[in-house]
Symmetry: C2
Subunit: 199 residues, 2 copies
Amino acid sequence: MVDPEERRREVVDAVFRVVARGGIQQATLRNVAAEAGLAVGSVRHYFASHRELLMAAAREMVRRVDVRVAAQRERRHPGDDLCLVAQEVVGQFLPLDSARAEETAVWLDFVAAARTDPALGEIAAELHDGLRDVAGRLLHRLGVDDPVAVEHLAAVLDGLALGATLHPDRLSPDTIRAVLHRHLTQLPGAADESEDPDT
Amino acid sequence: MVDPEERRREVVDAVFRVVARGGIQQATLRNVAAEAGLAVGSVRHYFASHRELLMAAAREMVRRVDVRVAAQRERRHPGDDLCLVAQEVVGQFLPLDSARAEETAVWLDFVAAARTDPALGEIAAELHDGLRDVAGRLLHRLGVDDPVAVEHLAAVLDGLALGATLHPDRLSPDTIRAVLHRHLTQLPGAADESEDPDT
DNA sequence: GCTTTTATAGCACGACCGTGCTACGTTTTA
DNA sequence: TAAAACGTAGCACGGTCGTGCTATAAAAGC
């Protein structure tokens, strides 16, 4: 009758809502089941354990980011201003609207939990690698190939996400955009051509 | 004959160790008491409730950062290379050695928890304001007064702390220093800082 | 038809939690 | 010296948690 795949997604969505509202420690089976409108036993029919539920949610987070990056890659055009494109791409990871603010909040809780949870840590590492990959590709297109620059940009993105999630009143979307613009326009070697003929 | 002040500090230290090892959700009264070598009732003699214990720990975190900043301010000399001084000051907030790595890990858990805990949130806001204050003062000394630059530097610091805490194997202290150096030497409007101590 | 699998729900157990309360030496005070 | 305060410890209660297990109705397969 019901698509198991969809039920799982519904439950994972419930996890996201619960975590966004009350933190990851509130993501108990009972709370998630109530949020999803199910009984605890029903949730456990789809997720064998609490841990598995949380890992599924983490993986879904990774998937959503991947989808977003792919969509952004589709949308770009060769004639666009590279710097503007870059801002849009990295903006996908930042809480510039309420939907992404919620996602970022969940992200923060998960990565913090990942520090002391090896299983989650693996997934968090995937997330971070993905971010660095995007940053690296972006910088390469801008003519910057310094690996330090990649870490630099990644740090700015993480820092902005963290700051805006923790203190949204002091780090508005406009300020985020300003910092982003500042960072991208100050890249050295962006205008001149230090082309690498290896690719 | 024990100094109550010192007992409290010992217990708070135990909190830090427990959080660093297993995350903030492991900082239960029982775990902290065991780590401190006390009974639960004894801990509760100094901290009326679990919440109060955690808030005391958070406040102690703020205090330590303040102490560190003050100490750094003492140490600087007028003739020093401003950029190097800046790196040292700002490095006080980053996990460049194991002690600070532990502190940063605890910091991450606390600020993540602060998102959904108003009491902790207030303390976390203090922390963030302090960081921005230091960043602003530093940039001012370097001849930069752009408020966006302050947010930019603060974001880099937060991002580096987060990245190094979550993935210490991929973001080594050397890399952190490189990113920091990169950020500080690329500041626009900063006078050329190399070997000209008498300005 | 009948049987097997699936979806949903609920109960009960053991573990851990914060906390109110009491007990009992030891130190300080009057 | 008697009394009050302090430091330390522990018990017990009510609550929440994950989870093993069972029940039951609906769907799927034969």
